[in-house]
């Protein structure tokens, strides 16, 4: 069982100033370039919920993938430096939007927490940095929504319920695996569906919600990734989905850009973009221009964006 409820409110209240609450926020590279819409929509939606995502003043790339080799400690350093930045802010928790960043930061932190030998070596290596022992908890925005904000409060902010929309939440890999980094049940996650329902849409259950899209294999094996995304999209469609909500910029890219031309296009959005729409926020903050033409067309067709 995950004990994801234990820190409810603690972070928000500890850092709240007036009505606004503050959370340390780590964006990662892609959110500043190819997934700006994920960031702008998240900041706007969270602000509407009374949560300020405060970007770390200084951060570096997390390395995108957690290093799996026992002797490869150097690749944890990039992630850990970011956590040290969080600690310097006097915070013990950092939120990410990108699922890859979440996984990398989370797991690197587990190394520092649970492996004394590796902690010692890494601290030694970063001799210009203060010693770090895994004090900072990395959370994904979905956890914040579920555990700190709560569905009720989100529901209260819904101005335009996404009525009659059938949306499938797609998790991919890095939010759920391994077990030690999972934000929800590894095999039967609920959090995306719960959010989609809270926003007024019906959440489509489909068996490929946790299937890998092929990830970085798109660089060298675009055809293989296309096979994967076709399987994921057709499974979603078969189960009645009109659109897919994602939480990872790489999934978003793969599902958008490797869609087969010969099938009916499937709109792909970040879950935060759905929040922007449901909360009735300025469509600019949603950054829908960066989504595919088909996605925009579908949103317009439904009267969800101007």
């Amino acid at each position: 069982m995950l004990n994801y409820r234990k820190s409810r409110w603690s972070v928000l209240s500890a850092s709240s100033r007036g009505n606004k609450m503050e959370l340390a926020y780590y964006p990662g590279c892609t959110l500043k370039t190819r997934a700006k819409n994920f960031e702008t929509s998240a900041i706007a939606a969270m602000s509407a919920l009374g949560v300020n995502l405060v970007e770390l003043p200084r951060w570096n790339c997390c390395g995108t993938v957690y290093s799996l080799a026992e002797d490869d400690l150097i690749h944890h350093v990039a992630a850990i430096r970011n956590l040290i930045r969080v600690k310097e802010q006097g915070k013990n928790k950092v939120v990410t939007l990108c699922a890859f960043c979440y996984n990398t930061l989370k797991r690197a932190n587990l190394v520092m927490k649970d492996s004394p030998d590796k902690r010692f070596a890494i601290n030694n290596f970063m001799n210009e940095e203060p010693d770090y022992a895994g004090e900072v908890e990395t959370v994904h925005l979905l956890q914040v929504l579920r555990d700190d904000v709560g569905w009720e409060r989100i529901a209260r902010n819904v101005k335009h319920p996404l009525k009659d929309l059938k949306i499938a939440g797609y998790y991919g890999c890095t939010l759920l695996r391994p077990q030690s980094a999972a934000i929800d049940s590894v095999e039967r996650p609920r959090v995306l569906q719960d959010l989609i329902k809270t926003l007024g849409a019906s959440a489509v259950e489909f068996p490929f919600a946790t299937e890998c899209c092929g990830a970085y294999q798109v660089v060298d094996n675009r055809d293989i990734v296309a096979e994967r995304t076709a399987a994921i999209l057709s499974s979603a469609r078969k189960n009645g989905a009109e659109a897919i909500a994602v939480s990872c910029p790489l999934c978003e890219y793969n599902l958008r850009q490797t869609q087969r031309q010969d099938t009916v296009p499937m709109p792909v959005l970040y879950f935060t973009q759905l929040m922007v729409i449901a909360f009735g926020l300025d469509a600019i903050t949603g950054g829908f221009d960066e989504n595919s033409m088909e996605t925009r067309a579908w949103l317009k067709g439904k009267g969800l964006i101007p």
Binding site: T33, T64, F100, Q217, V219
Partner: protein, 135 residues
Amino acid sequence: MRVELSSKKLRSNFVKKVAELSGQNLYLCYQCGKCSAGCPMGFAMDILPNQVIRLIQLGLEEDLINSKTVWLCASCLTCTARCPRGVDLSKVMEAVRLLTLRKNKNYIEPSKMSHDTIAELPQIALVSAFRKLTG
């Protein structure tokens, strides 16, 4: 071809290195095949994930080095999550990749990729692919 097995082969440097780099006891695996059953890239692999472990158990380095399988692994950890014996196969895959990469042999050559491709792909894809597939 008949493959000759010997304790020498079973305890070869290759087998030791894989165990060391992955931190996994490969002999925990009892070859149930669940990893292969769930692998999202299995359809494109020439040898299956369970056979990767098997070949290491037998010390058959050549077969493994000549296979595409470890390069197709996307580190999605589906196998890891479902393994009944608690073997983290994704770490084994990484170990085998590293044994090639550390010989200064890249699986993909960033220098040979077109500017358009690089411009089109998100950073997250490029960085992770370079991390996994180049030395």
